[in-house]
Amino acid sequence: MSLLATNYLTPTGREEAWRFTPLKRMRGLHDGAAVIGDRASLISTHVLPAGVTFVRESLEPLAESDDVIIERVRGFSSNVAHLSITANTEVGQPIFLGRSKGALDTAELSRVRISLGNHATATVVIENTGDTVLAEDLEISLAPGSSLTFITLQEFESQSVYAARHHAVIDKDARYKSITVTVGGDVVRILPTVEFIAPGGSAELLGVYFATAGQFFEHRMHVDHAVPHAKSRVNFKGALSGRDAHTVWIGDVLIRAVAEGTDTYELNRNLLLSDGARADSVPNLEIETGEIVGAGHASTTGRFDDEQLFYLMSRGITLENARRLVVRGFFNEIVTEIGIELIQERLMDRIDGELAKAGA
C-alpha cells in the first residue's frame, strides 16, 4: 500500500483514539515516517509440542481494523507468523514465543496469527523483550469449543516503542482468557480487542501494568458483543510512580441490539504511588438491548491506604515493607492467574524493583 493511501489517516492527537498518546514519541510508527527494517523478530523459544506448528505464511486479515498503525502493518506485508494448534489437541505445557534482537533506528512491522482448531486447548506466552520499535497486528482465531490462555509480557527495554492490536475472534462456545502485562518500554500502546461471532463464547481480559518516571502505557479495550449469550470480564490493575509516569485504560464494551443474554463486567484500578504521575481511566459501556444478564463497570484511582499501612506497621513491619506488601497484594489477584510460577516470581520481583527504584 502506498503512503498516499494511508496518509489521510495520520493521527493528529485530536482524535478520540489518539488523544492520550504522545505521538512525538511514537518514532514515526503513526505517521509513516519510520524507516522499516528487515526484521521478523517473533521466534519460538522452546521446542513446540505435538500438534503445534509455527510457520511464516501469507494470510488475509481475520477482521477489519480502524487503527492507522494496524492498517500500515497490513499494507506493508502479507507475511504472517502463524502459530497453529490442531483441532482436538490439548496442549498441557505453555507454548513460549519470544523476540530475537530488535533495533531502535528502524521499525519492525509484524503480523502474527494464533489459531486454535475445534476444541483445542492451549496456553501461549509471548515474552516481549529488548530494545525495539515494533508495530504489531496480532490476531487470534478461536474455533468452536476451543480454549486459549494468552499471556503477553511487555518487558521491553527503556527506549522501546510498541504499538499493537491483540484481536481475538471468538466462535461458538470458545473460551478466551488474556493476561496482558506491561512493565517495560518508553511507549506501549496495546488494543486488546474481542469480537464474538457465535453464541456461547467467553472472554476474560486481565492485565497489570506498572509505569515509572516518563513511561507511557496505554491499554485500550474493545469488546464487541455482536451475538447473543456471550460473557466478558475485564480486570486491569495498574500502579504508577515517578514524574510523568502516565497510563491510560479505556474500556469500550458494546452490547449490540442482537446480543441478548450478554453478561459483562469491566474493572480498572490504579494505585498512584507518588506525585507527578497520571492515570486516565475511561470505562465506556454502550448498551443497545435491555435483554441482558448483566452489565457493569467500575474504575478507581487512589493512593496508598494509610489505614492498611498503619495496620501492617503496628505489627512491626517497616514502612518500606508494608508498601511492598500492599503493592504485591494489589497485583496478586491478577498475577496468580498466570499460573506459571517462574513468570509470576519474575514479575513480582520486577514490581519490587520498580517500587524500590521509585523510592515510593
Binding site: M313, R315, G316, T318, V326, G329, F330, F331
Partner: protein
C-alpha cells in the same frame, strides 16, 4: 518486667473545623502481668488513647509523654513501637487485599524477631495458635481481614497477640460484636498470653461482661478525655449497676 508510663497525655485530632482536643491529660501506668480495664461511654476518648499510643498518624500529640521502660514511645515510628513490645488489638482490623494471613504473620514475626522464623517450627506455631482459637486451617490462606466475620477478625487479632508476644497489649473493644462462645475463646487467648508471656493488658471496653473472663487488677473510668475514677475490680460492679451517668455529667 516492663512498664508503660503515660503521663499527662494530651492529644488532638484535625477536623474540618480545626484541631479538636480529645485527650486532656491522661495518666496511667501499666506493668507486666497487670490487667487494667478502661471503661467509659462512647466518645470519651478511649480509642484515641489506644491509637495514640500505637502511633496512628491521624492523632497529634499536644503534650505529655509515653515511655516504655524509659524509652520515649512518642518518638518512635509505628513499627518501632511494635518492636519495642507494644501491641494494639484493633476494634476494626483493616482489610489488606491480596496479602494472605500466613504471609502477613510470617512477615510480622520476621520483623519483630529480627530473623525469619524457621519454616518447620513456624508452621507448627501457627497451627497451634489457630487451633487454640478454634480457627479453620483454611483461614491461613485467606487475605488479611478480607471477608472475615466480626468474630474472625477478633480471633485473628488475638492470634497475633499470641504469636507476636508483645510486652504490653492494648485491646480496643475486642469484646464488641462477639457472641458468648467467641467471647470466651478470645478471652482464653488473652489469658494464655498473660500467663505465657507475663503480658500487661489494657482492656478497653464499654461492658463488664468481658471482665468475667479476663479479671482486671485495676478499673479506670474514662470520661471527657481523662480518667475520672480509679479502683479495683469492684468498681466494675458499681458501673454495671449505675452506668456512666455520674461521670458524664461532671
Amino acid at each position: 518486667m516492663s512498664t508503660l508510663e503515660i503521663r499527662n497525655l494530651q492529644v488532638s485530632v484535625n477536623t474540618d473545623a480545626g484541631a479538636v482536643e480529645i485527650l486532656k491529660g491522661v495518666d496511667l501506668t501499666i506493668t507486666s502481668g497487670e490487667t487494667h480495664a478502661i471503661m467509659g461511654p462512647n466518645g470519651s476518648g478511649k480509642s484515641t488513647l489506644a491509637y495514640s499510643i500505637a502511633g496512628h498518624p491521624k492523632y497529634t500529640i499536644v503534650g505529655g509523654s509515653v515511655t516504655l521502660d524509659g524509652a520515649d514511645v512518642l518518638d518512635m515510628t509505628v513499627d518501632e513501637r511494635a518492636k519495642a513490645g507494644l501491641f494494639l488489638a484493633m476494634q476494626y482490623p483493616v482489610e489488606v487485599p491480596g496479602v494472605s494471613v500466613s504471609n502477613f504473620l510470617r512477615t510480622a514475626a520476621t520483623a519483630l524477631r529480627g530473623e525469619a522464623p524457621k519454616l518447620r517450627t513456624w508452621v507448627g506455631e501457627v497451627k497451634e495458635a489457630m487451633e487454640a482459637l478454634n480457627m479453620d486451617p483454611a483461614f491461613a490462606s485467606r487475605n488479611v481481614n478480607e471477608g472475615f466475620s466480626g468474630g474472625e477478625k477478633k480471633r485473628h487479632e488475638i492470634m497475633q497477640l499470641e504469636l507476636l508476644k508483645p510486652k504490653i497489649a492494648i485491646l480496643d473493644e475486642t469484646d464488641s460484636g462477639l457472641d458468648v462462645d467467641a467471647l470466651r475463646i478470645v478471652s482464653e487467648g488473652v489469658n494464655r498470653a498473660k500467663e505465657n508471656n507475663n503480658l500487661g493488658v489494657v482492656l478497653i471496653t464499654h461492658y463488664t461482661r468481658i471482665l468475667k473472663y479476663i479479671k482486671p487488677d485495676f478499673v479506670h473510668v474514662f470520661a471527657n478525655g481523662r480518667i475520672v475514677e480509679e479502683g479495683g475490680p469492684d468498681l466494675a460492679d458499681k458501673l454495671e449497676a449505675n452506668g456512666y451517668a455520674d461521670y458524664v455529667s461532671k
